[in-house]
Symmetry: C2
Subunit: 293 residues, 2 copies
């Protein structure tokens, strides 16, 4: 492992701990609702939260200020997983290396836990105790609502389910569009959050995030074909079994890997304006396509 | 109908139209997700939204400024109904005089429509185009997240389902507690929103809302016993059938009505500080316990 990779992993681990501590400090453990929320948050890589904290850092914003929005995006991501895993959606039994919430508890607990995590996301972004100005909190919350709303994240999930239930085969453009909603919107929110906190232009972070989000999704498709469930922490081989069009089915395994590599290059190029300050974010882009989980 | 009642109904109708127009302007009608969101919003009385707009008015805030937060609380309320009606929750087929979303479409559409309405609620409260200051938007969004979160609204729903599935019989105190979460939290948010927008002390509005919310729920229990499904727009007689402890089962029908009447008196007393400006809110409290739907 080279020194850039180990610096990245060290940074991710440290931020991930801060994010988890923050999240858990807002959730008791007195009832099934709270226990299931904690369960859903457990074992995540907190990549989106790290993106928030690192993009904040390179804009001069301290982790003390960025950790609550970072925790917020992880609550949002966890909610989307809990609901997507439900029997009437993707029907998944395993997530983050453990049984999904509806398997461990039941469906109504999973729906309520997801609802609660979604609400918690906004609470964390808006909470005055995070010490960000109300201008920034209102702006971040507004953009989070748009990114997570019926024109982005939820539209992506609806299109994905529609694709699974129809005979229509998606082409590459349709899958790019679907994934820019489903995976891309929250990643873009995370990467631009730091620029917004720092009052800086967000174009470079936005370009970076668009390429990164797509590379992330392509790697997910690659893992679904080449990975093992025990390493990935979730069921693999599902897409092929379902006859679903993916980046791998459309581009071939090697073609998909090449596409992801080229996107990572674009992502890194977009950060050139930040110079050496953006080293960890560039390394993160490389990590995204080398991970097996 | 006396003149106070007709002024109330006129005011509610006018605000309700503004709220509906606002909500629909944020939702297209191009796909099942958007159509199901519109369906879920259709036919509501928009009482919570009216509360926002009227409490704003008596604090000197114009409807042009308050309509988006008012639409936001109605999106939040609609989400909670769509999810609560799901088969694994209260399993209701009828709501607001029409089939519930999962009956008209399917379960995954209902879950996604609810998620989208919840996200839309925050978008509407945070949107800079509503012209409220970012201080106010961030504060309203923060409080909405708390009111709708795992310590309030969602806890109330979890406790309600738990009560239905257990042999434990709730006493009056337990039901008051449950309902203060399930119904009370959003009503309190609505009533205090105007004071927050106007930068005024919110204690009077908060006391008013606490009594109003409980009276509202008692009347819901009364309608479940005395009402007809066609007038109420939802299935009635469910609580008795389920052997569920309600204000009516614990206090008797007349006792429950007396309790609601006394709460309405408390609600009106709490508004004395506002003098004649609060006439419509007092009338609203009376309307809440005289309604049959």
């Amino acid at each position: 492992m080279n020194s850039a990779t180990s610096a990245l992993l060290e940074g991710m681990l440290s931020d991930s701990k801060s994010i988890s501590n923050c999240l858990h400090s807002f959730i008791g453990n007195g009832n099934d609702l709270e226990l299931s929320m904690r369960h859903a948050l457990h074992g995540g890589k907190n990549v989106r939260g790290f993106l928030v904290m690192e993009s904040a850092r390179i804009h001069g914003i301290s982790p003390l200020l960025s950790v609550m929005p970072a925790a917020g995006i992880e609550a949002m991501h966890a909610y989307s997983l809990v609901h997507d895993d439900l029997p009437c959606m993707d029907d998944d039994d395993m997530r983050r290396g453990q049984p999904t919430v509806h398997v461990k508890w039941n469906e109504h607990t999973a729906i309520l836990a997801g609802d609660a995590l979604l609400s918690l996301a906004f609470r964390l972004v808006c909470d005055p105790s995070c010490k960000l100005s109300s201008d920034i909190r209102a702006e971040l919350a507004f953009r989070l609502a748009v990114a997570g709303g019926h024109g982005k994240l939820i539209l992506g999930q609806a299109l994905d389910i529609e694709a699974e239930n129809s005979d229509l085969t998606h082409d590459l453009e349709a899958i790019r569009n679907l994934q820019s909603h489903k995976t891309g919107a929250l990643i873009e929110w995370s990467a631009t959050a730091g620029a917004i906190m720092g009052g800086a232009d967000e174009n470079a972070m936005s370009s970076y995030a668009k390429s990164l989000g797509l590379a992330f999704q392509i790697q997910d498709d690659v893992i679904d074909v080449t990975g093992s469930s025990s390493v990935a922490g979730k069921t693999v081989g599902k897409d092929e079994k379902a006859g679903k069009a993916t980046f791998v089915s459309l581009l071939g395994l090697e073609g998909a890997k090449r596409e992801a590599q080229s996107l990572v290059q674009n992502a890194c190029d977009a950060l050139s304006v930040y110079g050496r300050k953006a080293e960890l974010l560039k390394e993160l882009a490389n990590f995204v396509i080398s991970r097996e989980f």
